[in-house]
């Protein structure tokens, strides 16, 4: 995969990302050894980060084959560029940024060249969340488990899912997301809000309706 346009500059992470990405035992030593070309150190870094990178790819792409391909690309790129990691941000933050950029580039190459990503990531009216000015249904608090949330996130329209995963799961700020997606900060905030509204709608549905809705959304 061509990665010429990939930004590999190391940006300092926001406080949220430091909290979310604490140092891992043995990681710093493995990074230094990997920079010197130590093969065992590369395999250690892969073992330490493969699940996080793959899960991120899978959530962004919603497809196992593509997620595995992107995981492969991310680590190949990492191994070739690790010398440029200066330790100014958490290693996992740096690796995640690299992965997100690769996935976005992949999505653009897949067919988003003619229109901007900002337009393309906006879902159709049918997928948009309904405005809520009067319903008095059950409240979510305390009722949502991880599996249900994971399934609901997977069924979001791609644009909503992308911003939700980057902001609420990965901890990127709106200005960072705007830069990555080449859209405005306002658009990122709006997409996130709509994603949460859509999730609320999906999670409030009774079990049987939700199953049907999730299947339909996945098609």
């Amino acid at each position: 995969m061509e990665t010429q346009g990939l930004q590999m500059t190391e940006q300092k992470a926001g406080p949220g990302l430091y909290k979310r990405n604490p140092p891992i035992a043995g990681e710093a030593e493995a990074i230094e050894r990997a920079k010197a070309g130590d093969a065992e150190a590369f395999s250690k870094l892969y073992a330490l980060h493969k699940r996080r990178v793959y899960t991120l790819c899978l959530r962004m792409l919603g497809n196992v084959t593509e997620a595995e391909d992107m995981t492969q690309e991310a680590f190949l790129h990492l191994f070739r560029k690790i010398g440029s990691f200066r330790g100014e941000s958490a290693f996992s933050t740096w690796l995640h940024r690299l992965t997100v950029n690769l996935v976005l580039m992949h999505l653009r190459k897949k067919g988003l060249q003619l229109v901007s990503l900002e337009e393309t990531i906006n879902p159709s009216e049918e997928d948009a969340p309904k405005r809520d000015f009067g319903s008095r249904d059950m409240q979510l608090s305390g009722s949502v488990d991880r599996v249900a949330l994971e399934r609901a996130v997977a069924s979001l329209p791609p644009g909503y899912r992308m911003v939700f995963v980057l902001h609420d799961v990965e901890g990127f700020e709106h200005n960072e997301i705007a830069a990555m997606l080449d859209c405005s900060t306002g658009n990122s905030k709006s997409q996130l809000h709509k994603a949460r509204l859509k999730l609320r709608e999906l999670l409030r549905q009774p079990e049987s309706t939700a199953q049907a809705g999730l299947k339909e959304a996945a098609l």
Partner: protein, 99 residues
């Protein structure tokens, strides 16, 4: 964190639509109390529907953090392909170390 203050043109009570229009910015501002704007607070206090909406959206954002922990694992083929891809660059270990 500072709360966003909105200054409506009149002091008339907000409708649900007006209140909800401000929500993306209010959530993005990230203040714990969401807002300290009196008009917004008044609506939040008196509108059961909008207060439930705000609670649910905050709950969803909070719950999302638990998804950061990875649950999925790539197949062994991924590491094999990485090794193949790196052939010529470096001779990597045959198996990634267990952690």
């Amino acid at each position: 964190m500072t709360s966003h203050n909105f200054q409506p043109e009149s002091s008339a009570p907000l409708s649900c639509a007006e209140f909800q229009e401000h929500l993306p910015d209010l959530f993005a501002a990230g203040s714990e109390g969401l807002t300290d704007d009196p008009t917004m607070l008044e609506h939040l206090k008196t509108c059961e529907n909008c207060s439930a909406l705000v609670r649910d959206l905050q709950y969803i954002a909070d719950q999302a953090r638990q998804l950061l922990e990875p649950t999925h694992e790539p197949s062994d083929d991924v590491w094999k392909k990485i090794q193949e891809g790196l052939t010529g660059d470096i001779h990597v270990a045959s198996n990634p170390g267990k952690v």
